[in-house]
Amino acid sequence: MPVAAGFLPELRRALPRLAEGLLVTVEATVLGAALALVLAYVLGLLSRSARLPVRGGARLVVEFFRGTSLYVQLFWLFFALPMVGFRLEPLACAVLALGLNYGAYGAEVVRGAVAAVPRAQTEAGIALGMGAGLRLRRVVLPQAHALMVAPFKNLLVQLLKATPLLSLVTVPDLTFQIDQLRSSTGATAASYLLLLGLYFGMAVVLSLLMNALERAAKARLGQEGGA
């Protein structure tokens, strides 16, 4: 392809900017995932509360953020929120949208995993005179953790895959930088293939990390599949 002739030298010159973009993408992924994890635990545990208002409130929040689509949420935070008087940095909008949306999905994972821990485990805790907090911390959650890792891995990859959206709200992320490279070189196929390859690589790294985490969680419980 004649258009792509200047691609490699141009790519070499663009490397520092690509590295910056990659850093922004990783930052958004990590911060978004951290917020999502916190929300997943809070909302997931609250939605198992015995008190109806607490449970109902948590369910409402979860259904709201699951039901309104990440794209609408992100654009709402970016375009509509300033009209009510709050202006957030574009990156903050992105992290908030990713965290709220995937936190809501994660809450279902936490709820399901806690529900899947056999009831006899809780009963044994009660028989030993453990309080509710101690039971949750020492008996139920460690077992639930091993069940949560695999679905969390899927969500994390989904979250990573949603980060190119950042470029739509003016964040100079990896997608934005590679798009610049594309328009300066005209090498459309090579640029996008590079971008897809980089995302694939990041997803593989995340998967490997999460697999190690799952093995560790299972090993702590002495379960099959643990290291």
Binding site: G67, Y71, V72, P82, P164, A189, L196, Y199
Partner: protein, 211 residues
């Protein structure tokens, strides 16, 4: 702050965009269901040399961002109209998820069913069509429903390739009337109203089909 007048004016545009969103989701999901089944069958029943490359390609499409795939297809295949291209890319992306769903559904068909077919010496094609696939499809209906809902929620992405769906309309209205708050809040509300009942329905179906 909230302007009721602007919200009333934005509603027709948002609803029109919603119609486009729904119209795009339906054929895209049809593409995903068919192509997903083909991918699953190639991996389960196709020639051995084809299974691995197909599996790798599907994994690549599944783990890379839909937005980038849309952009890439948009610039690389200029011959296709935006809505057609969007439907094809969205359908292909989800097909790679659905093929995994079909695969688990096929694996869940009891081994005795295959053995019975062997005992009756049914031809292979008949085994798939009359015995395995009907049971597999019944197994996978609830997860298919979940993917339909999540595809519906990803359809707004088509706005980046100038398909005039709901987010596109909300954005256009917001910028021309300086009423982003009203237009995007309405878009969110319409989405919630549409996707909540659907997920409740899917959960009911799941509960009924569970053994």
């Amino acid at each position: 702050m909230w302007d009721g007048e602007a919200a009333r004016a934005a509603l027709p545009a948002v609803l029109e965009g919603f119609g486009v969103t729904v119209l795009a989701t339906v054929p895209a999901f049809a593409v995903a269901m068919l192509l997903g089944l083909v991918l699953a069958l190639v991996q389960r029943a196709g020639p051995g040399w084809l299974a691995l490359p197909v599996r790798g390609a599907a994994a690549f499409v599944r783990t890379t961002p839909l937005l980038v795939q849309l952009f890439a297809a948009w610039v690389l295949v200029p011959a296709l109209d935006a809505p057609v291209l969007g439907v094809l890319v969205l359908g292909t992306h989800y097909a790679t998820y659905l093929s995994e769903v079909y695969r688990t559904g096929i694996d869940a068909v009891p081994k005795g069913q295959w053995e019975a077919c062997t005992a009756l010496s049914l031809p292979r094609r008949r085994v798939w069509r009359a015995v395995v696939l009907p049971q597999a499809v019944r197994n996978v209906l609830p997860p298919l429903g979940n993917y339909a809902v999540s595809m519906f929620k990803e359809t707004p992405l088509l706005s980046v390739i100038t398909v005039h769906e709901m987010v596109h309309e909300a954005n256009t209205f917001g910028s021309t009337h300086f009423a982003y708050l009203e237009s995007f809040t309405l878009a969110a509300a319409v989405f919630l109203l549409a996707s909540w009942p659907t997920s409740v329905l899917v959960r009911r179906l799941e509960a009924r089909l569970a053994v």
